[in-house]
């Protein structure tokens, strides 16, 4: 029993020692490093799978060791939890020590001041009491106490810079607060992405189904999202001649609260660096792209029009790839439907140039849009129950012969392509879509407050020097002997100059008119 207690005590002491904290800090830096060097799932899951495929057993080993989820890994968590405990263990006794010291008087003057790192002495013809009085005035702002010694000498013990430790404690407690607030945000926050076509289409934050992708916090199930709706009316991008984007502007309208049941919409100018903050959520403009609109005229004369976002594969030219699909009209029979689904798949270029029939894009603005498409007919395989990629067709359906290519052509605006069965497909226009992100983090304001407190504490603890100064004034035959000694309690750096200046004044024993 006592052994166990001793073991616990020793572990606790070891954990809270400065040396341990140092090593843990160093480990934290080291442990964070793989996150900067290896692809991370939370940033780009696709890259992670590519990396694992490329690196074989080594890639899989890294995966087992959680190197692609560094900041959620067991070992990284272990480091910061230990550091957290070490910090608490370090700070708690320091708090008591600090509270005790705050009430204490400066320590008694050492016998031999000449042995201190900073010292000086002089003989003046001013009375002892006057020297003490002048020095007290000079040392305003210092905590000090005047004492009498047995041989008639009088001493001043002075100390200042108590705020250093205040800053130090503030910094570390704010750091703890920041970590807690950060963790809280990870539990109750969420982020979701959605593409909305900029032709008056709407998005409502009503559930997970509304999003293209969604990253919930650990305690978020998606049933209680903050309700609001947003309508994207138009999108305007401007580019430099070399294709670099210069500005993005999105005209949106939104409604929240009571407005949701009415037809009242608030206008907002959504731009980069200018998110919409509403209903406890933030809406960001994080991406944009094109959605080519096609009209299909079926053999029976019926038409269907549709536009869906295509994926910009090159942000400099906005060359995009994607797939727009249509179901045949008037078909309730599932087998019949699965024979006549249409997929228009290929490339879109906002400013197209052709090398023979090979299309590419030279500019991201929609100066001369064109598509290079293949039209497939058959079973799209989108009822298989598996998640499918929005931008491509299901190649396995093509391989099985259930989805067959019927035509292939480059189309400019207004041009048509005809299928053998008489179906006509027209490329109407190039619409634009915006990639929106909705973010929710209930504790980020607290994180900011703690970060600012950390900074204040840090500046206090680094700029303020805890220092002591002693003065002994002794009467002697020839006059009054004044001795000064100084000691910086924390870091010596920088006390020298102040001490020299101060002692020069104190050693004269006279009041200075400043």
């Amino acid at each position: 029993m006592t052994n166990a207690l001793a073991y616990l005590r020793n572990t606790w002491r070891g954990l809270t020692a400065m040396r341990t904290a140092l090593i843990l800090l160093a480990l934290l830096a080291l442990g964070a490093l793989p996150g900067a060097l290896l692809p991370q799932r939370q940033l780009n899951a696709g890259k992670v799978s590519d990396y694992i495929t490329e690196h074989g057993w080594w890639g899989r080993l890294l995966d087992t060791l959680q190197f692609y989820d560094v900041y959620a890994s067991v070992w990284f968590s272990a480091i910061y939890v230990l550091l957290f405990i070490s910090l608490v263990g370090c700070l708690t006794p320091r708090m008591f020590e600090y509270a005790k010291q705050a009430r204490q008087q400066p320590v008694i003057t050492p016998r031999n001041l000449a042995r201190l790192p900073h010292h000086g002495t002089s003989t003046v013809d001013v009375a002892v009491d006057d020297v003490v009085e002048a020095s007290r005035k000079r040392l305003r702002g210092w905590r000090m106490v005047v004492r009498e010694e047995d041989d008639g000498a009088r001493t001043i013990s002075a100390e200042r810079g108590y705020l250093r430790e205040t800053g130090n404690l503030l910094f570390h407690f704010a750091l703890l607060g920041l970590i807690v607030a950060f963790a809280f945000g990870k539990l109750f926050g969420y982020a979701g992405q959605v593409a909305v076509i900029a032709n008056g289409s709407q998005f409502c934050n009503s559930g997970l189904f509304a999003y293209d992708s969604f990253t919930p916090g650990l305690k978020v199930d998606g049933t209680e999202l903050d309700p609001f709706c947003i309508k994207v009316n138009d999108f305007k991008a401007t580019y430099l001649p070399d294709g670099q984007a210069n500005s993005f502007d999105t005209g949106v309208q939104y409604q929240t609260g009571a407005d949701l049941n009415s037809d009242r919409w608030e206008p907002y100018d959504l731009r980069s660096n200018h998110p919409l903050r509403t209903a406890g959520d933030r809406v960001y403009l994080l991406g944009h792209g094109y959605a080519p609109q096609f009209t299909v005229t079926f053999p029976d004369g019926q038409t269907r029009t549709k536009a869906i976002q295509w994926n910009p594969s090159d942000l400099n030219t906005m060359l995009s790839s994607g797939t727009t699909t249509f179901d045949p009209p008037n078909t309730t029979d599932e087998t019949e439907l699965r024979k006549h689904q249409i997929a228009i798949t290929g490339l879109f270029a906002p400013t197209a140039v052709f090398d023979g029939t090979l299309m590419s894009s030279i500019y991201p603005g929609a100066n001369d849009p064109a598509v290079a498409v293949q039209v497939y007919e058959g079973d799209l395989g989108n009822n298989s129950g598996y998640a499918h990629n929005l931008f491509t067709i299901d190649q396995s359906m093509v391989e099985q012969g259930r989805l067959v290519q019927k035509a292939m052509k480059n189309l400019k605006l207004g041009q048509e392509i005809a299928l053998p069965d008489g179906t006509k497909i027209k490329f109407d226009k190039a619409l634009e879509f915006v990639g929106l992100q909705v973010s929710h983090d209930p504790s980020q304001d607290f994180v900011l407050v703690f970060a600012v407190l950390m900074l204040v504490g840090l500046m206090g603890s680094l700029a303020i020097k805890r220092r002591r100064l002693w003065l002994r004034v002794t009467p002697s035959g020839e006059g009054t002997v004044v001795e000064v000694g100084g000691l910086a309690r924390t870091d010596q750096a920088g006390y020298g100059e102040e001490f020299t200046r101060l002692s020069a004044e104190l050693l004269t024993g006279k009041k200075r008119d400043t």
């Binding site: 160093a26 991370q40 560094v70 900041y71 210069n246 980069s272 660096n273 933030r282 960001y284 970060a451």
Partner: protein, 319 residues
């Protein structure tokens, strides 16, 4: 927004001139170093002349005093003047870029590197004016000239407006704070590196030819510490500003983007340095090594993260 090509050209010329003048200043500083004799050498020459023997008198390291002739001092002061001229040209290059593009002149890697070096040199000149450390100047200018050379050749980017994500007043606040703090933190990195040589020299006389001319290890240590305690809070401030900006630009204040991660690592390393300096057994060499690692992580963050990995901070503009 069109770029003023004339001013952009003047900025480029000014940049090249600044590098040339820095190199010239280094030459003058080196002449000063060469003309500065340590007393050990002086003693050695004395014995050689007097006794005619080739044996050198062993003088313990602590008693070696650097003596500088007035002529050497003149060269040092000329080097300093050239250094000031260099920084003026350098500042002109940065400011002209800003006027030519009508924005803060640190929007890509070339401009950022230039700004970091500018702040480092300004910081150094202020320090060298206040303390007797001018003779270190050549070692401070060395990495700066290397960085500027790399910037002006491999990383050079013509003047142009920045992309929409960077069009925010936070560019001025966040990147200015980062570049000032990075510039300042270069100085402790150099001082700590020199500390290792000087400390070895003071322990057992190694690196005598070079380290005897350096200030005392204690002075180098204090220099490193003092600049770090200014640079570190500024770096903290810069990271906080970055987080605020990230919140309004990218939808989250912290997302472990490679650049953020690396900034976090550098921040933790400097935190280790500050703690090490207050812990028995970690002062001196260990603390100096940690400070060097801190600076290495800043350089790594600038080059490796910008050029090799891809993240949200990919604004290098290097084709």
């Amino acid at each position: 927004m069109p770029v003023n090509e004339t001013l952009a050209r003047y900025s480029d010329w000014s940049y090249v001139s600044a590098v040339v003048v820095y190199v010239l200043a280094m030459v003058f500083y080196l002449v000063e170093q060469a003309m500065t004799k340590t007393r050990r050498q002086a003693a050695r020459e004395l014995t050689a002349v007097g006794g005619g023997s080739a044996e050198a008198v062993e003088v313990p390291a602590e008693s070696v005093v650097v003596t500088r002739s007035p002529r050497a001092d003149r060269f040092g002061r000329m080097g300093f003047s050239l250094n000031v001229l260099g920084v003026l040209l350098h500042a002109a290059a940065v400011i002209l870029r800003g006027v030519a593009t009508d924005r803060v002149p640190w929007g890509n890697m070339y401009e950022y590197g230039s700004a970091v070096c500018l702040f480092a040199v300004v910081g150094w000149l202020v320090l060298a004016k206040r303390f007797d450390i001018r003779r270190l100047s050549v070692w401070v200018l060395l990495p700066i000239v290397v960085l500027l050379f790399l910037g002006g050749t491999a990383l050079y980017t013509p003047a142009a407006p920045v992309q929409p994500a960077l069009q925010s007043y936070w560019l001025a606040i966040h990147v200015t704070a980062v570049s000032i703090s990075s510039g300042l933190l270069l100085l402790p990195g150099v001082a700590s590196l020199l500390y290792l040589f000087r400390a070895a020299y003071e322990r057992n006389g190694r690196f005598a030819g070079f380290a005897a001319r350096l200030p005392k290890a204690e002075v180098l240590d204090r220099l490193a510490y003092r600049v770090t305690v200014v640079g570190f809070p500024l770096f903290t401030f810069a990271i906080i500003c970055g987080a605020i900006w990230a919140e309004s630009a990218w939808g989250r204040f912290w997302g472990w983007d490679p650049k953020e991660t690396c900034a976090f690592i550098a921040w933790v390393i400097y935190a280790v340095y500050l703690h090490a300096r207050a812990t028995a057994g970690w002062r001196g060499n260990r603390a100096a090594v940690i400070n060097i690692l801190g600076f290495a992580s800043m350089v790594f963050n600038l080059f490796f993260i910008n050029l090799v990995t891809s993240g949200l901070h990919s604004y290098a503009g290097v084709a």
